[in-house]
């Protein structure tokens, strides 16, 4: 898969390189969402808040560091990227403090409420965030203006981030998250501090979302309040459902499908929402484990000794899939 990603810039024209960068950034964002959904069993409809906060933190520092001519040095550029994750983490710590007190639909609604609150604050606080104008002119240093170079830079960061995430999901912490997904009460009776682990994971997920957001600003040359909105949160949910929440790489597979489909469909029609709506409909009804859920079931069926089935939406496929 990494090899395939490395080959993208060889495709003719810049278009697919741009699509590839978008796949990576949103793939990372969706992967961070799945730490909450696939591993901890809680769905967030406000995860874009951390993506957006990461994007704004980077954009603001970027703007402060660039010269009056609009240029920015490489060191300053990298420094501005580093601002995204910690600011997003701080926001996740604050918001998570309230959200982890709840589970299920109440958790989902509270994340949505906080997400929309933050969207509204960014949208209306002109003096600080430039409101609905957004922040423009995030032109990276010359080297990173080349779309191939920026693509490889993004690829390197995303691979590194996914490696760290993979280690986390395979650790005692990751295993404990899955016990919280399956049975919180039992986990507590075994000695697990449920809320503390939920909060830690919420902050980790927010940090990686912030990293994705930090990359987004210089890529699209601008940020706007819409990045924090629930529509953006929905993209992470869609990508995860399409790819499969039960597999470690599910969300990034979902991002490949979602983003490429979007790029192609938008070339020909204005009916993108209708298209993605239909795709989600089919996935939810006929392949609740996502694309990788289908693949996994096929693999198990092919192996005679594969005793257990994999039909469950968020079936515990994380381990087998992620060790490939």
């Amino acid at each position: 898969m990494i090899v395939l990603f490395a080959l993208v810039p060889w495709l003719p024209g810049e278009f697919w390189t741009h699509v590839g960068t978008e796949i990576l950034i949103f793939g990372l964002f969706a992967m961070s969402f799945n730490l909450l959904y696939g591993y901890m069993g809680q769905i967030s409809f406000g995860h874009a808040a951390f993506f957006g906060i990461g994007a704004y933190a980077t954009a603001m520092l970027f703007t402060a560091l660039k010269t009056s001519a609009g240029d920015i040095g490489v060191a300053e550029f990298l420094l501005s990227l580093l601002a995204g994750p910690p600011v997003a983490a701080a926001a996740a710590l604050f918001i998570g403090f309230f959200c982890v007190r709840l589970t299920g639909i109440y958790f989902a609604m509270l994340t949505l409420a906080f997400g929309e609150m933050l969207f509204y604050i960014v949208f209306s606080w002109y003096s600080f965030t430039k409101g609905d104008d957004g922040i423009q002119g995030l032109l990276p240093p010359a080297f990173f203006q080349d779309s191939d170079n920026f693509y490889y830079f993004t690829l390197a960061i995303v691979i590194l981030a996914l490696f760290v995430m993979w280690r986390i999901t395979e650790s005692p912490f990751g295993l404990t998250l899955r016990t919280l997904r399956d049975n919180q009460r039992r986990a507590a009776f075994l000695g697990t501090n449920v809320k503390a682990h939920m909060l830690a994971n919420f902050v980790i997920a927010g940090t990686f979302a912030g990293l994705a957001g930090a990359l987004w600003g210089p890529f699209s040359r601008s940020v706007n309040p819409g990045l924090l909105g629930w529509g953006e949160s929905g993209i992470a949910v869609f990508m995860t459902l399409i790819g499969g929440a039960g597999a470690f790489i599910g969300p990034i597979v979902g991002s490949v499908i979602y983003t490429m489909l979007q790029a192609v469909v938008k070339m020909y029609t204005i009916y993108w929402p209708l298209t993605i709506g239909s795709v989600i409909l089919v996935i939810v009804l006929f392949a609740p484990g996502g694309i990788l859920g289908i693949v996994e079931r096929r693999l198990r069926a092919a192996r005679p000794e594969g005793g257990t089935n994999g039909g469950d939406p968020v079936a515990g496929a994380g381990e087998t899939e992620s060790r490939q």
Binding site: R167, L175, N183, R186, A187, A188, L190, G191, A315, G316
Partner: protein, 250 residues
């Protein structure tokens, strides 16, 4: 010379207007194997929930191994060395058998905040010990939610044993089991008690199991202790005959 590992004094609990636990005094010596019996609604489950932190007592005190644990949340009670298994098997359904046990071991080792170490390398020895103890090695890679009922209950017991607890509460350990499964489960419980010196407190509806496997009995009725003593003492108690045993041994 034994000392009391568990000391409960004047325990009280109300749910709304219902007085479900009334002035319960209870103690267990280290290494004891004891049963709580009583009709449905007698307050057996509530009593266990009060001892393990699931409910907060309205009054009274719970002291475990010299430490006041009254009102501690479940995860802190568990870390003191008190473990419990549930009547309806409460396991991690989407994880494999070995992952269930491993996670329980990690929780007891307080290793759950280790972010980068590989999970399978942590507490591997203890995980294997528990699997072997409960004879579940051959089922290790099966998904817990897809096990047969009896195996689910066995796994339920296995994760309660992770990390060598000192006191084990078993809520209806043989409920839903075949006679054969029930027998082997209770043999295991006896062995844990005898060989590993684990203090065991269980509730059970099957009087044959109770009289065969508990050395002391406590009869609860409407939240109160009616009688406490050896099986023979409880059997010969008149009130016990009237409120509970009568319906089983009529």
């Amino acid at each position: 010379m034994n000392r009391n590992i568990l000391e409960v004094t004047g325990l009280e609990k109300h749910f709304g207007g219902v007085h479900v636990t009334r002035n319960v005094h209870f103690s267990m010596e280290e290494g004891e194997q004891s049963a709580i019996i009583g009709p449905n609604g007698a307050g057996k489950s509530t009593f266990m929930n009060l001892l393990t932190g699931f409910h907060r007592p309205d009054g009274g005190k719970v002291v475990f191994a010299g430490r006041d644990i009254t009102g501690l949340p479940p995860h802190k009670v568990a870390r003191c060395g008190i473990s419990r298994a549930f009547q309806v098997s409460s396991i991690f359904a989407r994880m494999t058998v070995v992952e269930n046990v491993r996670a329980a071991v990690h929780a007891q080792m307080r290793a759950t905040f280790r972010l980068f170490a590989p999970a399978r390398a942590i507490g591997a020895e203890e995980t294997e010990r528990v699997l072997a103890l409960c004879a579940m090695e051959d089922k290790r890679e099966l998904t817990a939610g897809e096990l047969a009922q009896g195996d689910k209950k066995r796994l339920e017991l296995a994760i309660a044993l992770a990390g060598k607890p000192r006191l084990l509460f078993l809520d209806e350990p043989t409920a839903g089991m075949s006679i054969e499964e029930a027998r082997s489960t209770m043999e295991l419980v006896d062995r844990l008690n005898r060989e590993l010196k684990l203090t065991v407190l269980f509730t059970e509806h099957d009087m044959e199991i109770v009289f065969n496997h508990a050395r002391t009995l406590t009869l609860l009725h409407r939240g109160e202790i009616i009688v406490q003593g050896t099986p023979a003492e409880v059997r010969s108690n008149e009130t016990a005959q009237k409120v509970y045993l009568g319906e089983h041994h009529a």
